[in-house]
Symmetry: C2
Subunit: 147 residues, 2 copies
DNA sequence: TCATGTATTTAGAATAAGTCTAAGTTGAGA
DNA sequence: TCTCAACTTAGACTTATTCTAAATACATGA
């Protein structure tokens, strides 16, 4: 299992703690926010809000409210610490890899993998004449060959 | 305003009625289904289920149930008559252009435009070594230059 | 140190999108 | 004409997310 986040230069120049990352983006590092950010930095599973809640609720001495999870995810998204990923109807997934990249959805397992932008390089210019492209997201569906 | 659907060879060889299209895909053309399919074939606005409901509810002598709209959209999707498009959290949009194409989201207006696949050609092969790509969707965000 | 004010967190209510249920309707074929 | 399966319906339900109002936590200035 690769862990893109701890080696992602876009997220940070060195391996930073969640707390440092939040501070650098102007987000007050409360215990709840640190635990949630930390979980997202450590996983590559593109979890939903609910999955975040169950994953981290044991990590705090106090109960973690569902509202806090949603508040925090929105705060982190607005601060550019994480990104939303839409792969299926009706659910939003989150990704702490905020570098320019795309996703590969394994239609058999539901597994979602990051695809680095350099694999998909030229595409951004394709529309240059008629559109001002701020960004784009490529969503692949398929199957992993082995694994 | 371009109308991709009536000229889309993938949808049909000639301009077909919604009724003929449904028959050709093995879907019984009830009045509700015909009206909904017809609306989707005529628009390029990528409507949500709710937008479909308000757009077509006047077109039938009887009341059109919300459940029927959802049932029909799912039936048409399963039959390959329409496709789901995910551009924003929490809402599913529908597109009667089932040819291989992508989308451009104008971040100012929310307008969603179709981008033909030939504009985005090579990308499908990029992952060939490690993944079996069944398909992919490119979602562009940006602004229209003029319009 | 203490009081105060603002930000944050919380539980639970509210909302919105979509699905389910059970009853009624339709229509094709015997 | 009768029957049966498919379809539609209203409304209940579910699920994901947001809102609300009260409680808590902190940093700051007196």
């Amino acid at each position: 299992m690769t862990d893109h986040n701890t080696t992602d230069k876009t997220t940070a120049d060195k391996i930073v703690s969640a707390e440092q990352l939040l501070l650098s983006r102007g987000v007050k590092p409360t215990p709840q926010r640190v635990v949630i950010a930390d979980y997202l930095l450590q996983t590559d599973s593109h979890p939903t809000a609910d999955e975040v809640l169950s994953a981290v609720s044991g990590a705090l001495p106090v109960a973690l409210s569902r509202a806090t999870v949603y508040n925090t995810l929105n705060t982190l998204k607005d601060a550019g610490v994480i990104k939303e990923v839409l792969t299926e109807p009706g659910r939003v997934r989150y990704d702490a890899n905020v570098s320019h990249h795309h996703h590969f959805v394994d239609v058999k397992t539901g597994q979602i993998l990051d695809i680095p932008a350099d694999k998909v390089e030229a595409i951004g210019q394709l529309l240059g004449d008629q559109y001002k492209v701020h960004g784009f997201q490529v969503l692949f569906y398929g199957e992993l060959e082995q694994n």
